[in-house]
Symmetry: C2
Subunit: 396 residues, 2 copies
């Protein structure tokens, strides 16, 4: 099937498409209230959008006291693909043009197996979604990778945890395979965009989104836009020193935040505690599974295990300390905590909050919510869909 080739011809059309994306089906009259255009001009632009097929008529709206207005909506057949490649698993989802998730699958996979193997997996997952009747094809795809990206080209650069990906033309290759436009970004940035679009960060202009998974990263949103930095490595807070002369880190330094708290560090600490006989709960789980992960620690903590709680608390303290510094520096309006370890829940959040509220100045923390992400694993794929839709819904 031929997919969308049309693009908005001007800024007004782009604006209208985004209004329809973010606000769902809408009447012409309501659109007129939200956009600064005369009725005549609006009618012309809507007419042109209808001609392109990007937008379709959608029945009559409820009356607002007079003649009823005709609703319009984004073409219901439009489909975006959102891909979130994590360190140890892959999420793929299909959305409609309003970025609602229609189907979502998750598969474990080690990113270190390299781009070729991962791509194969991603494509087969996309094919599976297509086969299930959710999409006949994709009008665009967004993809997130766990490392820095040279954004304009869509190419990973010097990614520490994914050797073999350096310089791999992700955007080009995926675009080729799927036959549609593709945008690539860091997975943390996509999570931030997801929470901004559909999660807790709606209507916040400046915020931080801290993702604690296998590693730790931070999405930075300034004035509604993601800040990627000069080389695309902004938000790489995992290697900020949290403990002077602390544990050795894979990066060669000592005391990096990531070495002291992250999915990987937490798992290692848990195994150690189990082996030293500090926690019967963890030891039992280690016995059963042969390994431990953040999920086990969360379960043990939920069961009241003191060691597990301590691990979480200490990690939260470390993380909170680093975040406190970032809050002083950046003065965000919101801090979102997300990623694999959100399962640790309130214990973690409380530890982080304590540190931030204690260490940052009152002016910066006075009205600063620190909350868990609302979308969990869908944040990344929604962010990915948002990324490509922002691209497509902008003047050609």
């Amino acid at each position: 099937m031929r997919r969308m080739t049309a693009r908005p011809a001007n800024a007004h059309q782009a604006r209208l498409l985004r209004l329809l994306r973010d606000g769902g089906p809408n009447s012409r009259a309501q659109l007129g209230d939200q956009i600064d255009l005369s009725r005549s001009k609006l009618a012309v632009e809507v007419e042109r959008l209808l001609e392109t097929g990007l937008v379709v008529a959608d029945g009559l709206a409820a009356s607002r006291g007079g003649r009823r207005s005709h609703n319009i909506r984004l073409a219901p057949a439009l489909r975006f693909l959102g891909v979130d490649i994590g360190a140890t698993s892959i999420d793929v989802a299909v959305t409609n043009a309003e970025l609602e998730v229609l189907g979502h699958i998750n598969q474990p996979m080690d990113v270190r197996e390299g781009p070729v193997a991962v791509f194969e997996q991603v494509l087969s997952m996309a094919a599976k979604l297509r086969a299930s009747g959710l999409a006949e094809g994709f009008d665009g795809a967004g993809i997130g990778v766990p490392g820095p990206v040279r954004f304009p080209e869509g190419v990973p650069v010097a990614p520490p945890i994914m050797p073999g990906w350096d310089g791999f033309p992700v955007r080009e290759a995926l675009s080729q395979e799927l036959g549609c436009p593709v945008m690539v970004d860091n997975d943390v940035n996509l999570m931030a965009m997801g929470e901004q679009h559909a999660g807790v960060a709606r209507s916040v202009g400046d915020f931080l989104c801290v993702k604690i998974g296998t590693g730790i990263g931070c999405g930075i949103v300034v004035g509604g836009e993601v800040h990627r930095g000069t080389t695309g490595s902004a938000g790489d807070i995992g290697h900020i020193q949290a403990v002077p002369d602390g544990r050795p880190c894979a990066c060669g330094n000592r005391g990096c935040l990531e070495a002291h708290f992250s999915g990987a560090a937490l798992a290692r600490d848990a195994v150690e505690a189990a082996q030293q006989g500090l926690s019967a709960e963890l030891a039992a789980r280690l016995e059963t599974n042969g390994a431990l992960s953040a999920v086990d620690v969360a379960a043990a903590a939920a069961a009241g295990d003191a060691t597990a709680l301590d691990l979480i608390r200490e990690g939260g303290n470390r993380t909170g300390q680093v975040i406190a510094g970032l809050v002083s520096f950046f003065n965000p309006g919101l801090v979102v905590i997300g990623g694999g370890v959100t399962g640790l829940g309130h214990t973690l959040l409380a530890a982080i909050r304590t540190q931030v509220y204690r260490q940052s100045l009152p002016l910066a923390t006075g009205n600063l919510p620190i909350v868990l992400g609302e979308l969990g694993p869908t944040a990344g794929v929604i962010g990915a869909a948002r990324l490509i839709s922002d691209h497509l819904f902008s003047p050609a």
Copy 2:
């Protein structure tokens, strides 16, 4: 004398004014090369600007191989006032419309004497500059204060080191007194704008500007724009924890960067070292002056005093450690070090560089210059002039 009342009527005119401000006198033809407008349209807008008096004819340009072009320039009588209120001194300068400093005076004054006393001083300094024939009046003024500012209103909020200023309507009051538009900002932000306009940060989109004076602050520039944060306290890095369980700080916490290194901390450490007999050089200076400041430490270091050098080095290490974190987080294209302690020169810079290059990831530091500010004490006043000119040279 009546001053400039005219403002650019549209974005084109604003654009032209900024080109003339940043590039100096220019021919119509050259302007045409820099702006995306047809010759006819350009001629119309220039004509209108000439009518308003904001811009005047300025003789003939050199030939580029054909008919010579008529030069135009910003009205030579335009004057901006730049005010930089530091913790312990005040800088006031007059600039022309191209933001060249025509006159600059500096007076010691403790900001804690309160807004009324400080204002009196500022106005008398401005009057002095006017009396010396540099200006008949001011077309706009920018002012920087050493604390957070609610930017749109131009009002300091909860400034830790300047009690009595909280909520004082700086913008309103100064505008009233001077009879011209006024904009207020944090002094560190103005320093960043100054270095961006006329210093080392020309042509860099994302950079950090660390000012080490009585306290420590950091100007953050994202995409050419200053980031002020949700409550105007962005860049307040003086109270980031640099030393766990370190020295007590005025803010109530322990180990704040500012408590370990800043103009004030350095002076205190120097006195202590002198009294403990660790440094003959510093002791002698303490004897002579009755007090020590960063300048004394710089002089002692220049004379080869080991203790002074150690103080600087250790401070640089602490600062570098914090900056390393910020570099990982923000991924700037440049880091500028400025403020009173730039006199400490290369020793300080070397220590900072060592820490940053060691602790941040290669991708972020690979092509990251860390340099001293170029403008010294004029950075702030130039930034102040730039602030108000940006405001005035924007569509009404």
